[in-house]
């Protein structure tokens, strides 16, 4: 008989270590990938994934099946990842336009010139890096929404619960995020994958 995630977690709560191990096996890959796309560093993503599983383990005695297990798991993962990004500033290019300006007298923020970044990345022929940087440059909430929607293929209700917003607000959030990415990634759409080898700058 296949046990649901909630049942596995309830069994782990009752002291069954094998159930916790089963959940670890099932979600290790999606969790590490989500965290990798958030922090863009493999070793950090694995460290954070360990931290998430440890938090799940510590909280098992207080677990109540009020929501889907994945909602709980990715909510913890989102908090851990955002704290890590804020603390360590892994990505200097991840400028949030929604974030308040700390010092009014400081120089205005300069967004990296898109042409320059495209140029650099086309020279390096690294489309993947360019896509990841475009996603990382989104404001935090939009970034999480896009990663959960596009790569984890979660439904709107679950993403909304993870981000603690309404489904309607989430749809607006996703539209704004994909609008930004539509502009940011436009050069990659007009520059198909087949052409990148052997060619330098986009025409």
């Amino acid at each position: 008989m296949v046990r649901s995630d909630v049942q596995l977690m309830l069994d782990a709560k009752a002291g069954d270590e094998a159930s916790f191990d089963f959940l670890l096996q099932k979600y290790r890959s999606p969790l590490v990938n989500f965290l990798y796309r958030m922090v863009r560093d493999t070793a950090t993503a694995e460290d954070l994934a360990q931290e998430v599983f440890l938090r799940i383990y510590r909280a098992r005695k207080q677990y109540t099946p009020s929501a889907k297990f994945t909602t709980w798991l990715f909510r913890i993962a989102t908090n851990v990842a955002l704290n890590s990004v804020r603390d360590n500033r892994y990505d200097k290019l991840a400028v949030s336009l929604d974030a308040p300006v700390d010092d009014e007298n400081s120089a205005p923020r300069e967004l990296p010139a898109r042409e320059m970044r495209i140029d650099e990345h086309m020279i390096e022929r690294d489309r993947t890096e360019f896509i990841q940087r475009a996603i990382a440059s989104l404001p935090e909430k939009q970034r999480v929404a896009v990663l959960l929607h596009k790569y984890e293929e979660m439904d709107y209700g679950e993403i909304a619960r993870i981000l603690d917003c309404s489904e309607s607000a989430l749809k607006s959030l996703l539209f704004r995020a994909y609008e930004t990415l539509r502009v940011q990634l436009a050069p990659l759409v007009t520059q198909p994958v087949e052409r990148r080898a052997g060619e330098g700058r986009p025409s």
């Binding site: 360990q50 599983f53 790569y151 439904d155 759409v189």
Partner: protein, 168 residues
């Protein structure tokens, strides 16, 4: 219908999660709006581009490290259910200290019967001036002063004691 009115449903329309009513609304708009048709087409294309980001696999020792950290967690013992949380211990200690402090406060109930020590003090006060009362000269002078009292003006710094209504 304006583009802004339909924009919120565009993503749900594209990933086939929109309701039939929402789909109809979007399709009606797309039929008459070239800009939104282009936008939808470009959304589809960037989703294809985003698929180029490869998935990674956790490293070989990932599970072992998680298990190691889990094993290092302190285990719950059979008596751990009886051990109160630190905040409960703190609150109980605070209550006990408060109880001891209140219990040590002196009683000041006016209706309470006098203690042996209080009675002894009253007796002492009564006999303390006995020597003065036995001195005849002092007593007669005090009587003479009491006769003069109504004629003299009362001293402002020495308030006159109230005279009892009946003379015993």
């Amino acid at each position: 219908m304006k583009c802004e009115d339909v924009s919120k449903e565009l993503i749900a329309y594209l990933d086939h999660r929109a309701s039939p009513a929402e789909r109809r609304k979007v399709e009606e708009h797309l039929g008459g709006c070239a800009a939104c048709r282009t936008r939808v087409d470009e959304f589809r294309k960037i989703w294809t581009v985003m698929d180029e980001v490869p998935a990674i696999e956790p490293s070989f020792g990932f599970d072992a490290r998680v298990r190691q950290r889990v094993a290092a967690e302190p285990r719950r013992r059979w008596f751990s259910g009886f051990v109160p949380a630190p905040r409960v211990v703190f609150a109980a200690g605070l209550l006990i200290a408060l109880g001891v402090w209140v219990a040590r406060l002196p009683l000041s109930d006016p209706g309470a019967p006098p203690t042996v020590a209080a009675i002894q003090q009253q007796d002492f006060n009564a006999i303390k001036d006995l020597g003065v009362l036995e001195n005849y000269d002092v007593v007669t002078k005090m009587d003479a002063l009491s006769e003069l009292a109504p004629a003299t003006t009362p001293q402002p710094d020495k308030p006159q004691p109230e005279e009892p209504s009946s003379n015993d």
